[in-house]
Symmetry: D2
Subunit: 355 residues, 4 copies
Amino acid sequence: MIIMESNATQEQIDQVIKEIKKFRLRADVSKGAYRTVIGLVGDENKIPFTHFSTLPGVKEAIRIETAYKLLSKEYGKFSEGLSEPFVVKAGDIGIGGDEPTFIAGPCAIESKEQLFKIAEGVKMAGAHILRGGVFKPRSSVHSFQGLGAKGREEAEEALTWLSEAGKKFDMPVVTEVRGEAQVDLLAEYVDMFQIGARNMYNQDLLTKVAKKNKPVLFKRHFGAGIEEFLSFAEYIAAEGNKNIVLCERGIVPIGKGKQYSRYTLDLNAVPVIQKETYLPIIVDPSHAAGRRDLIFNLSCAAIASGADGLIIEVHYNPAEALVDGRQMITPDKLKDVIDACRKIHKLVLPERNKS
Amino acid sequence: MIIMESNATQEQIDQVIKEIKKFRLRADVSKGAYRTVIGLVGDENKIPFTHFSTLPGVKEAIRIETAYKLLSKEYGKFSEGLSEPFVVKAGDIGIGGDEPTFIAGPCAIESKEQLFKIAEGVKMAGAHILRGGVFKPRSSVHSFQGLGAKGREEAEEALTWLSEAGKKFDMPVVTEVRGEAQVDLLAEYVDMFQIGARNMYNQDLLTKVAKKNKPVLFKRHFGAGIEEFLSFAEYIAAEGNKNIVLCERGIVPIGKGKQYSRYTLDLNAVPVIQKETYLPIIVDPSHAAGRRDLIFNLSCAAIASGADGLIIEVHYNPAEALVDGRQMITPDKLKDVIDACRKIHKLVLPERNKS
Amino acid sequence: MIIMESNATQEQIDQVIKEIKKFRLRADVSKGAYRTVIGLVGDENKIPFTHFSTLPGVKEAIRIETAYKLLSKEYGKFSEGLSEPFVVKAGDIGIGGDEPTFIAGPCAIESKEQLFKIAEGVKMAGAHILRGGVFKPRSSVHSFQGLGAKGREEAEEALTWLSEAGKKFDMPVVTEVRGEAQVDLLAEYVDMFQIGARNMYNQDLLTKVAKKNKPVLFKRHFGAGIEEFLSFAEYIAAEGNKNIVLCERGIVPIGKGKQYSRYTLDLNAVPVIQKETYLPIIVDPSHAAGRRDLIFNLSCAAIASGADGLIIEVHYNPAEALVDGRQMITPDKLKDVIDACRKIHKLVLPERNKS
Amino acid sequence: MIIMESNATQEQIDQVIKEIKKFRLRADVSKGAYRTVIGLVGDENKIPFTHFSTLPGVKEAIRIETAYKLLSKEYGKFSEGLSEPFVVKAGDIGIGGDEPTFIAGPCAIESKEQLFKIAEGVKMAGAHILRGGVFKPRSSVHSFQGLGAKGREEAEEALTWLSEAGKKFDMPVVTEVRGEAQVDLLAEYVDMFQIGARNMYNQDLLTKVAKKNKPVLFKRHFGAGIEEFLSFAEYIAAEGNKNIVLCERGIVPIGKGKQYSRYTLDLNAVPVIQKETYLPIIVDPSHAAGRRDLIFNLSCAAIASGADGLIIEVHYNPAEALVDGRQMITPDKLKDVIDACRKIHKLVLPERNKS
């Protein structure tokens, strides 16, 4: 990280970037009202930091030891543009500020009617952003893969519904991008990309999505450590896109015997990640639980752990859902969750602001 | 499980018990004001349930399919003595009722002065039960093993302090029993036994402790699945002692790379266990975190997940502590935790009472 | 699975396929000299099996309960084309027969000279197939990502070297495909695709690669259970491509404390998978170990567990390697490994043929 | 570790021990023909190493950084008594030398006839040591706990059978000690103690068993990392008993979905542990597999990984066994395993002797 003097000229900044390129690294330039900070994308071991610290206009050249340096608290501290709370905007909704954000909707979009009915329900329950899956990643090739699997036309139709529902109920929309071939198409319809847990390690997809410069909801893989999670988020940041909302959605259950829930929510991850990076982090209790009777408590726990919001699967009649019906809650139940979570968020916010 | 008619005579009950013994099983008799329920200890496959259901005074004979049948919701439902909320009493403090319970104190007792100072601190912060370790289980034989390791005399001295501190500050006391040889000694001094995570699988210790008929704080091993955890708690219940408080204290972190906390708190376990058994469950955020800056959020999350209380390590000057200093909080911080947790508990209690 | 009569006509087969399509499923047709077997791609729950069993030319209609039915032993048993040992051919080298197959080469191709020198070394040591990475998946965006990261031209150049080295030393070649955009390019140069562990869950990539009808070396993700691994291999099979070689390459280490190897080789997986599916399975000891002093023993263990071959990273001077130098062995050491493994394979082969 | 001069007097040695005690640590004295080495039991941070290195007769004072310093290669290197190969003797059978050792027998002793029939079978198959369980640790209190659970008399009877069978078929005998109360009793009957996986963390049991000065077969817990495993073995060594045979018996399976085997054998652990400590290590494929059709391959893999032997459960009629019948093999199959393993051991021995 190269911290420029507050009065450094554009020429001096360009000179530093030119030097960085000489070493075959890329530059991540973060301009603030007061000063400019330049991050390095590539292997810092090749860089003579002492040389850089002597260039004109450079205040300090600091090595950051993590693999997620562009997302680190330290980098954020010097880049005013990233100063906390760092709020990511999806449409006109901010995530990471002083109020929790709730994303809700069906797991998979099944029909226009189904989507609109759920959209109305979640809006009335207090949700801010509408989710709905068109391209569903599934563990079995023999399972329903979303309307997107039926062909380009069906995919566009479903995306049009999503976009219309968002407008009608005044909510930005987010959907999952499962493969590189879907990036351009989805970019036309959605306010925010979701990259699912199974694609956390898919660096080619991350890079391609990042370039669209839309906010990205980035989910942790269920077998990934926190360091891996942040290191792959860095693939998005390295394209100059820091509009990343991290999402904890459960890790593989431990031990022998019966599994009582699909995954195990890792809430240590929430405060830990908030101490490592300036990015907001939300929690997906639906996939972590895999059963609806745990959603209320896991949602409250997530917010109490410090999360900036939740993403929850909702259906007016869960028994009818083609995918994941067992874990969906009704709009009424969502309202209970949101009401309790708002109160809990207020109770724990002072702790976040202390650190 | 054999459910007796409400008007079954003692003779009929004795007859059933006699029959059970014929099949080389033991009987767990649970008498309520209204009726008696008899659990079976041993392999139920050997039992002809149809035969039992025809004995005089027997209303129903039901096979329970889990390994933790004496602790199961189903068994509790029929045994009024276990009816919910099932409150376990340590001294005059109940765990599992409509208010959360807070257990706090030093990790290890180091001196009388240290213990009394901390006891006073946690009492003023709102704690109900005093904890303090005399026999410390440690990963390395080369680490400090508690005052108990120095000899019988030192152990008794430390236990006397603990008992006195409990009396002085009006808190029941709990300490960990690490081996069978300590059971008799500790029984003289403490209101509640703690069985630590590393001893969860130590069935001979569980059986020996259970027989003392004192309440047992039973911690989940960090590599154990929930089914295993409950199956080993059943070893205590099988001795006729159902005064068990379960404790989630973190599981082994997942994945590769840097570990940011000692363990990962598994809060799915809290509502899951509350749906499987009638026992109360508390959470130990101190060991789960291993660092004090996570304690506030993990404590709040634990209570929000539905936990009946917390056990927290406290020291007036954590830097001085001989064991686990990094994870201890001060009495002042404990007060913040307890205050927030009380409010959160109120918000989530209605959900528990619904189920 | 629909098993046709041995004298079923093409018309009858077409009729069955037509019926399958009516239910919006796809058909996987496996023709043998003796009879035809038709697998179903999609949700079998929608299919009235009793109806199918009455169609003309149909001998039997059987539901297979796993998510990897096209790869299951049961399906293989009825499809002569898949009868065991099922040998996958990469160029003229078979994998899965009565001799073990050894794949070796550098982790990343760094230069023509480096590649040719290593190719010669591994050929002389007894290797059959040459590996070499052009597009490297990396945990950190700041690490070397292979020559492919430098641009299309550099990628083609490296692939040309690989192809030439393969021809010169008479070895088919395999390289990793990391993203969808690379599939067409790689198909021109390689005899076999490798899909790396991090992409195991990347179903869009699997589908796209499968369509090229080249053999696929498919690696298990380090956090994936065996059922997941096979269920994702099924995505390849569902495109009509059964030329799949499975590869175990280590799972995330368990427990607390120091990690002595990068991953933990799961050799239970080898005989287990051989009992579940007809596909060959090889082992990658290099990534499992992450240190060269374990390679000999882990290789021998893998072959002793029943593996059909190994894939090993080799460098004439490991200290020089840009990626993974710590885990590479020299060609001389590779010869020791291959010699011992050949003898061990002979000792355990009778056990495989028994089952 | 204090390395004495080769001509150091007993007085000088005593002086060093006295100094060690001053710092409240214990001394582990290892005398060789050539020189004496003194290990420290306790927290080395309290020790001024520079002071010790100036004491008369002291050649060198070295800090060892692991928690298993008395078992470390480094300590072994200087203590001739521990020089490699370090062979542990159970009766007159050595474990850890140039030939693999096979321990076999029933899971649980059920009757004299059953035991003797199996003992004869395993002897003829080539086994060296007889195993048989009297006190069985079980996951459920409702399962059969071994004849030892029926009372002291039944326990003694079963132990007498075991002792007699060992004598009749000329094999030393080993049985599991499950709780502290069994240590004295078992010491009268067995040549070697087994401490099971579930008791790996039971430090009070380890200490009590160690004091009997009999060899200890010490099994790794299924959730324990390698560092933990060795750190708890150190509890035995700290009592002056280094006659420890480590045993890998499988770790908890990873990932989601169906579990195809009870545990996952971790064969990385074998060569890793052999590089960390001088102790022999054997493998238990029976518990790792939980199904008999994997035993042959896992046994061969274990020996190929470098293991010094195997412990295998055998029954002449597995279907009859009261415990673990699914994983038992017949004496005939055991012979196949031993024959193949002997040949494989010869193939991999040179690699061990190299390191």
